[in-house]
Symmetry: C2
Subunit: 179 residues, 2 copies
DNA sequence: TAGTATCGATACTAAAAGTATCATAACTCG
DNA sequence: CGAGTTATGATACTTTTAGTATCGATACTA
């Protein structure tokens, strides 16, 4: 498996950081690949060599940002609370909600992107939560719809993350629903 | 108030219908104003005379589509259920979810559009629901976040409206929360 | 019939996604 | 050290689309 030729520069992290920063500053629509590349200090062609479309880039960035779900606590109620608060914290990070909403918009009209989003971003959490909560796929997908949908809607309407009081209410409502 | 000059043609309804049809067929991103205008049988310039941007057009289209909330039933639980099911039915109509998600995306990076969205689309429902449910602004905004956010997330991830079983679960969860 | 405002058509500018090309840089293997 | 290989940055390009400008034609009012 000896590699020949010039090795790929390790710029993924820089590109992802530049993506979130740019999306945060100018929004999804005006976050051009040109600008993201410049912010990351690489050429636009380098970006397109790694991710075929802007939507794929943003999705990969989101997958990278969210990362594995750290389920803390011992019982189901703890797991539900920690999952919700983890999602809220991530969606509250600069650029994440805007990137999420943008890729969502593209996904509705683009089955390929929708599949990437569903498979690469949602499925790992779905599978882990089915295990941890002992719930059916249908129930876990419902859980994810409510949590992520609610948090994104709040960000989209107000431009700000959900305040703690409302986040607490969300946690309690869902805990009661899954009791 | 006597009008002089050629009166405006009454094409709003045709443009809105063409907007939803086009967005449904090709998605928000590829629903060009040119194409919408052609579908409606008017010139692009006529569209831009009425709505300054694509985002404003889509928002106006959504306001027109959603219309006044018909609250049926007698008690709070009925009102909650009817409001949720009304929202679900509207978001399930062809093109509505895609239009909503698209304008949302633009709104996150555009305070002006966000204000239009919040004021023209959300506020009428918020005010009516505060009255009908006897709840605070904060609680009603939370209610709207959960309902619309959940329904849109499902549409975005799957491309299909929420099935009845999940919609029932949503109604019950929120009814319990607001009891 | 004169005045006025909208209409459709056309042409245009500016921005941005994505592609193509190529000289150069960085690595491996012999 | 040199040949082979692959990635990089820079540049140029095509295509699409949002939004603007212009203008003759049209539909109304007074």
């Amino acid at each position: 498996m000896a590699q020949t030729g010039r090795p790929r520069a390790s710029v993924d992290a820089a590109v992802f950081a530049a993506t979130l920063k740019t999306v945060h500053e100018v929004g999804y629509t005006h976050a051009t690949v040109d600008r993201i590349a410049a912010e990351a200090g690489v050429a636009k062609t380098t970006v397109y060599r790694r991710w075929p479309t802007k939507g794929a880039l943003i999705t990969a960035c989101l997958v990278d940002t969210f990362g594995p779900l750290p389920l803390t606590g011992t019982d189901r109620a703890d797991h539900i609370a920690s999952a919700i608060r983890y999602g809220a914290a991530k969606i509250g990070e600069p650029g994440v909600a805007a990137a999420f909403a943008g890729v969502f918009t593209d996904a509705i009209g683009d089955p390929v992107l929708r599949d990437i989003l569903s498979t690469q971003l949602q499925d790992p959490y779905r599978i882990l939560l089915q295990e941890a909560l002992g719930e059916s796929e249908q129930r876990v997908l419902f859980f994810i719809d409510v949590v992520i949908g609610t948090l994104l809607h709040r960000m989209g309407m107000t431009g700000r993350p959900m305040v703690d009081a409302d986040l607490d209410a969300l946690v309690e409502m869902i805990q009661r629903d899954f009791k």
